[in-house]
Symmetry: C2
Subunit: 351 residues, 2 copies
Amino acid sequence: MTEPSAATTTDGASGSAPRLKDVAAAAGVSVKTVSNVVNGAEHVAQRTRARVQAAIDVLGYQPNATARRLRTGRSGMIALAFPELPSPYFAELAVEVIAAARRHRCTVLMDDTAGDPRAELRIASGLGDPMIDGVILSPLGLDRRELAARERQIPLVLLGEADFGPVCDHVHIDNVAAAYEATAHLVAGGRRRIAAIGWQDPSPRATAQQRMAGYRAALEAAGLRPEPALCPPVRAYVRPDGAAAMRRLLKLPARPDAVFCFNDLLALGALRAIHEAGLRVPEDIAVVGFDDVEESEYAIPSLTTVAPDKTGIAEAAVDALLHRIAVGDGEPGRLIQPGHRLVVRESSRRR
Amino acid sequence: MTEPSAATTTDGASGSAPRLKDVAAAAGVSVKTVSNVVNGAEHVAQRTRARVQAAIDVLGYQPNATARRLRTGRSGMIALAFPELPSPYFAELAVEVIAAARRHRCTVLMDDTAGDPRAELRIASGLGDPMIDGVILSPLGLDRRELAARERQIPLVLLGEADFGPVCDHVHIDNVAAAYEATAHLVAGGRRRIAAIGWQDPSPRATAQQRMAGYRAALEAAGLRPEPALCPPVRAYVRPDGAAAMRRLLKLPARPDAVFCFNDLLALGALRAIHEAGLRVPEDIAVVGFDDVEESEYAIPSLTTVAPDKTGIAEAAVDALLHRIAVGDGEPGRLIQPGHRLVVRESSRRR
């Protein structure tokens, strides 16, 4: 009995998707018995059930989504939608969400909304796909009224700063506190003309508003005066916009000696603009980013940045969504706030 | 009549998802008429049909996937699966696939397989979700036998180098030629000890094999001898592995004067290791990557790299998939080979 089951295990691990009959062979029971266990039948002996479950775990058997949904009313598929796929922050966060979902044997399907409110509304309604159990959405263009009017009220968890009130669960870090710490770190390093890259004009998003509030509060606490000229607006949080904003700052009569960028991509663009101007980081200008994407650790110089607890954010979002899927939408939405920390690297070393 | 339709257009553009009644108001017809047009009823006058279609186009009206599938047998949803989501190359390619699919009014759902053959087989079978019309898959762990045995034969297009024979359509650039050009560029710049980072030992993937073949051919054409010590193997195509391989190369008695990395992340890791060793790029060592991710343009120094035609790859994959969805799997699989070009930047400037 042990021999064939070991062989099946090896085969399963090598790649072919294990089927009911593989589980049956490994557990030494009939296919019908495995089917009974998988379908939650009550009359299977405890010992047999444990043996089948062990074989399922070893083989990594996963019933297909349609079968699973017919049986339990749920497919095990959740959708994850974010506004900027090329953003390494969202890519890294998505990897964490996928890992967290996998621990609950759920499959994640991702959708890039490009921040288009219509696309956000479609995904918030589950795309009309009855196979999708629930949705984790990082909204950019959607507003509160539109969200309330969505077509299908499937379980929904929001990521990111935008405030939608108690309409659903919401996961984000304390952005004001994080921006305060980043700016205070530059003050502590002896910097006095501290610029900020990330404001948006005329319609700053919630992220820009909260990080600007933290930046201003830290300056004021240090007795420094925020200057509009030191806060050039950007269109989007991407490398080219960071480089362009930095070039504007370098043309000021009184150049900044530090810059806090509202995400790492802006900071990486700023690093490049400073390099092209023949100036040195951190000797001439210190730079701090926000997100702690892997690229920042490898940048030259390596980038000081705010590291949100991405694993914590992903686990909180998946746990909240699975809870909603299990119990429904009766309870009011909760705000869940995972932690963050400042990672100090070469770009803000003390002079 | 013009006034209300203009107002509806503005409202649609501002974000709320347009519904049948918005289309009806904009076209100046009844909801029933719009429904008839959308559902392909034959008895609607040509002029009315054109007016409704124009309103649909202006408003960006999109019937939900379930309704669309009931009507046409297709949901307009396709799945895109790749093995390494945090890889900026896949993220940038996914953005192109999403854009190409959107031009055909299709929604893309993405799945990260992490290169796990079981996950690849599940997605190649459409995840058991009848709402998925077809799949674009970049396989890493799957083998030919496993692919042939997939559960549900839904339309499938493969991306990337792995060879699966004529079982389905396959899109990739000419990797051997591209690696040859990258290496020949270093030779033309006067480099003589040209290392390669990206070989895998003991099981090199197709990507490693093809890029290594192009590298060796270019060395041989220049009368240079490939040396195993100049080709340290890596585990995965990520920044830490590029940095570690570069550190090994820097310890050789005769240091290389150039290095061709099989992707940009390996090259960005190598740049960091060279910087940490106190050496200069390109003065001491020239570096060339592969993929042309945006990060490479902003790196310090900016990175010379092979740029695959990502838009061409995405359009070819979506076109091939939609063709398969329309006509079925009767025709044998085709190989489609979009172009590439070498983008020369600071990291390989002539000394």
